[in-house]
Symmetry: C2
Subunit: 347 residues, 2 copies
Amino acid sequence: MAKPSEPKRKKRNGGTTTSRMRDVARKAGVSVMTVSRALNDPDKVSKEMRLKVRAVVDEIGYVPNRLARSLSSNRSNLLGLIVPSIRNSLFAETIKGISDVASGNGYRLMIADSGPGLHEEEEAITAFLQQRVAGLVLHNTSHTANAIEMIGKAGIPVVENGNLTSTPLDSVVSYSNYEAARAMTLHLARMGYKQIAFVSLVRRENDRARERLRGYLAALKELGRKPDDALILERPPGFSAGAEAVMHLVESVPQVDAIFFAGDVLAVGAALECQRRGWKVPGRVALASFDDLDILRHVNPPLTTIRLPRYEIGRRSAECLLDRIAGRATERVSLDLKFEIIQRESA
Amino acid sequence: MAKPSEPKRKKRNGGTTTSRMRDVARKAGVSVMTVSRALNDPDKVSKEMRLKVRAVVDEIGYVPNRLARSLSSNRSNLLGLIVPSIRNSLFAETIKGISDVASGNGYRLMIADSGPGLHEEEEAITAFLQQRVAGLVLHNTSHTANAIEMIGKAGIPVVENGNLTSTPLDSVVSYSNYEAARAMTLHLARMGYKQIAFVSLVRRENDRARERLRGYLAALKELGRKPDDALILERPPGFSAGAEAVMHLVESVPQVDAIFFAGDVLAVGAALECQRRGWKVPGRVALASFDDLDILRHVNPPLTTIRLPRYEIGRRSAECLLDRIAGRATERVSLDLKFEIIQRESA
DNA sequence: GATTATTGTGTTACGCGTAACATGGATCTG
DNA sequence: CAGATCCATGTTACGCGTAACACAATAATC
């Protein structure tokens, strides 16, 4: 009987008092452990216990505390995702893929926008490790030394998915930017284009853009053509930059007959600009794009592009992470989800 | 001397061992409390302590455990955001606004995609409350009864930002979908259009779309016009649906002279479709859009639309939340960030 | 029917930090 | 110089759960 009276709680913020597992236990007349089991491992308790506990939980509106659970069990249900730009709709598909798998398995997704910089990525990684995420998805495939070390120490699985890097931190689920750019360049050459320009995002600190340029250059080499600096541009993201780039190229290098926009929505901006000016595509200049944006099919003419399995990349990345977290898989994965050239009318 | 030997740790997952504050304390020859203070409240410790602790932290690569901190202090640094569709680029700006403010203040953002359903939103809310988020941003302004009750019990600040609802759960930072749709409809009427069609997303479970329809109908009423069911459509999101809608309207109701696309990228799809078919815009039919997508400026002709302060909504939502969390503000906020009609060539 | 497994529940000891209070010395105060 | 005040640090007691083990009651085994 002389049960030591409940220790008073450390402190509580003002009015509202969230109920604890202990409150459920008391009300149901069982131990907290039984409540814990009834909620998280129902097979371990008898049916009547399960029902009684559930009833009390519903009655008092108990919301389990994941923080405490994670701390105690040393397992969190958080996944971290870091993308260079949340604004960029290209990532939306991948995010959705990750999000679907995560929430379908009881995991929650934290998203950080690192901007283009590696240092900001490191900060985001630090923050996520502090939250003790169970796994990380990184879009970048290059990182600061510090970031690499921290991730190594943390011992959590990581999937990179911006490029099929040959030197992943851990696992990689992606496609080859190099091969894709190379394939498109060769494709354009096969279509008969002689002067193929290449426009990408700014390549500094952007390994995808660099890989694409490598692929373009490799294709030129295979074709026995010399790269021409005047045909290689980099531009900030956005429609306007694409519009500007096509104007610039057509005017400054009149013999250009095809432009390969290797990133962002540049190609769309270019296509719309051509249309506005009444330039025939591909008559005046052919256009090709890199990303499988829905809108590419709807502009006039529809744009030749590369279809990338972005949703699938998200899905498989998350699955890979969860497999590793659950211990179902222990090997690093290097998964090439390929790409596909979609031939439409613009080139 | 007879210090009771370190209790062995409960359990550790295999190889990697994350260091604890205790390890830092031992190595620095101070108490854990001093370490805690040196890291979180530097003014409370002497300069030499601060430096010594920092040095040890760097040396052993200690990563503070936010889970433990949050649990112990009863304060988390997590914000939850629930949007109907992560895929939809409209939300990207708002997400960025929230994300910028959050990470600038040491908060982390968890994002859930609820889909169009209220029930899924409730699930996401539950999950976030389990993580003990410090605040919530909801795009929806209608919720299940259960969700409302849970949020009430949790006692955390909430900002809704999809519509300037007059019956917010707590605070609201948004614009009036009703007023915006009404204003655009009146604007189109002033431009001389007589038969103005209205196309929105599916209105069931989408209060924004319903509000916009209300605004459209209110404007018609003010104009002394009778709504015509044949001129009111709902469509799924996407370019194709917009393209289909414009064709459908022009063919089934030949006298239509303007179409107000009140949602998603429908208007863009419609504009591109008109262009493909060589229909003059606004000659054959005028087009107007609801959202301030960058691309609207680039299609031909540029689309008349409504500019919404989406980034600002995100930013102010997050600020409002943080003010409430920090106790800097205790009052509910109802902030109307307005909208602006952008007159371009399509109408 | 005694012995061994199985099942259901409770007990104890943490997980990793922070709040609140305690302590000892330096500084101020009149 | 006694007493009040401050400052830097330590001690204790939790926050809210789970892991691991203990234990009693039931079921399976021969």
